[in-house]
């Protein structure tokens, strides 16, 4: 395994080793809505509704969308923290959609998660050294003492002082806690890290520290990232390719430059134009969307975006557009593009 790592490290600079690490095919995750005295399922929330994408080794795929679009659910389903309703997840050549028990546990070493809230994701009663070694101890019987050099090394890698080992989470600031979370995720030397809004709880100056750290670690450990966030400028900074989600579906996937230079889907266009530009001299044409995101319990028929879309045509109300490649590497799900 380590040999493989070294190989990709050499290939790193052009970043596109063509090997696919993660493939998601027609993934659906539905949550049941229970109602009545018998707690029967009265409806389903289609949190993730038929998404397909792949991530190559060493690549960062960004997943953006507004709250409730299913981006976190997608991340969690890939890690098998949630059961997929339908579809396939292929990780490193192995179909992990239905893997269970010990084999699932074994595979989980290879993918880790960094969570949004550094305050809630660390056990407050555990020492940092203990927290960081926990994932390793889960998989082998080494004692904490034996692991100490390794943990110290990890702490140094994420930029925490040595004495952090003996401290507790409450003694750290948000940014430092996020570093602890990152050290934990790195402990097992995973291949894939799913970062779910890792910086949205942090101040800008700290946010940039954590973003820089994630990029450095990616180079050093040859990590592949699925980077989930709602902030487009952050996602653009971090990712090689970006997928835009709306109401459970993937509406556009493209190289980041292509996506920002020429967004094709009307939703992506609105999303990009909505970002406030930190430069008062640039006045941009703004597309203001009407209304709110509809409920995923009863999503609109056809294209889920059509009630808010300025370009909606009659067929948008009935036919659901499929994700199609309209330019090399640029896929979009919209009837405007044939």
């Amino acid at each position: 395994m380590s040999k493989e790592h070294n190989n990709t490290a050499v290939l790193k600079k052009d970043k596109s080793s063509n090997e696919v690490l993660l493939e998601v095919k027609n993934l659906k995750t539905y949550y049941p809505v229970k109602g009545g005295i018998l707690r029967r399922t009265v409806a389903v929330v289609k949190a993730v509704d038929d998404i397909t994408f792949e991530i190559k080794k060493g690549e960062t795929l960004g997943l953006v969308g507004e709250s409730g679009c299913g981006k976190s659910t997608a991340g969690r389903t890939i890690l098998r923290l949630l059961e997929p309703t339908e579809g396939q997840i292929i990780f490193d050549g192995q179909d992990i959609t239905n893997v269970r028990g010990t084999s699932l546990r074994k595979i989980r070493q290879d993918f880790q998660m960094v969570f949004q809230d550094p305050y809630a994701s660390l056990n407050p009663t555990m020492m940092v050294g203990h927290l960081v070694s926990e994932p390793i101890r889960n998989y082998n019987s080494k004692s904490e003492k034996e692991l100490k050099p390794e943990v110290m090394d990890l702490l140094a890698k994420v930029g925490l002082p040595e004495d952090a080992y003996y401290k507790y989470p409450h003694e750290f600031s948000g940014g430092q806690r996020q570093r602890i979370g990152i050290a934990r995720a790195l402990a097992l030397r995973p291949k894939l890290i799913i970062a779910d809004e890792p910086v949205s709880a942090l101040d800008v100056s700290v946010q940039s520290q954590v973003l820089n750290l994630l990029k450095e670690l990616q180079d050093e450990f040859d990590l592949t990232f699925l980077f989930i966030a709602h902030d487009l400028s952050v996602v653009k900074h971090m990712s090689d390719r970006i997928g835009v989600m709306y109401l459970g579906g993937l509406v556009e996937v493209a190289e980041k430059d292509s996506l920002y230079a020429e967004p094709l889907h009307p939703y992506t266009q609105a999303l990009i134009s909505a970002i406030p530009e930190p430069d008062p001299r640039k006045k941009k044409e703004r597309i203001i969307l009407e209304g709110d995101v509809p409920s995923p319990i009863d999503p609109p028929k056809g294209c889920t975006f059509h009630p808010r879309c300025a370009h909606a045509m009659p067929e948008c109300q009935s036919v659901k557009p499929q994700l199609k490649e309209v330019k090399p590497g640029h896929r979009v799900a919209c009837h405007l593009y044939k």
Binding site: V206, Y260, P278, P280
Partner: protein
Amino acid sequence: MSAKPRKHKYAPLLEVKNLETAFSIDGTYYNAVDNVSFRVNPRQIVGIVGESGCGKSVMSLSVMKLLPKGIGKIRSGEILFDGVHLENMTDSEINKIRGKDIAMIFQEPMTSLNPVFSIGFQLQEVLFNHMKISKKEARLKSIALLKSVGISRPEKIVDEYPHQLSGGMRQRVMIAIAIACQPKLLIADEPTTALDVTVQAQILELLKEIQEVNDMSVILITHDLGVVAEMCDEVIVMYAGKIAERTDVDSLFHNPKHPYTQLLMGAIPKMDEEVEKLSTIKGIVPSLKNMPKTGCKFAARCPKAMPECLTVTPQLAENENGHEVACLLYETSQPKQEVNA
């Protein structure tokens, strides 16, 4: 070399002079807002930016006199609103101004509405408090207000409850309540932070429109420099309870003077620029208890810090053309020579 006092075309609507607001931690008071002076002119949108803990919210709470009783207090300084001193007003006096002439909207549209009262009731509450108005008129007026903040079917929404609305709609309701009495000053504390970008764009647009129609002044508190660039005329950058820099929006973004502002600008990823590394600021904002007693409060994190930064407190002074900065790199910020020094 002392800077000339700035010329003011109008009498300011709000003038804060040497405000010090302190919070009690274990019985000792620590200044969260430390000797802050600024003014807001009529029809002006003033942005206050800074990271969490820089005192931006405490400052707005001081102006509104909404500091938690027994914990926070205004130690010294003056707050003049339309020529009237607010700092020593009693509760009943300030109640006549609060909600009428000065209104506020908060970050969390989820928690700032009362879940057990209908939208209409909460709107009418403000109207009844400040106007002589019949029930019927109040209802009609609240429907008109909801309409003016862009809520479709206001006749229905007026009888609905907060949980039935989305985050963006609730923030619209909050704005409707805030502008109900046509305030002269609106303080918006992170009004769009909890919202998605597309909804944020709607709300910002609405705020701008209302500001123009009602001839209001707005203090916009935010950590998002993009929002500031889009909305504000003038910007105040705060750090650790003090004003680091104050200027018009254009020169702040194109000629930032304080090292803190410069770093802050470099720390945000930009859409049209590709950088491998973002600039960072080492360390974190010191907590109230660990605030440096002397010198510049940013010195410990500042890449341009000089030895005297640790001992000499920089003064906020005009450096050029209405651009005020508090940093010893600029001669204008050197403390004025005492006669006996």
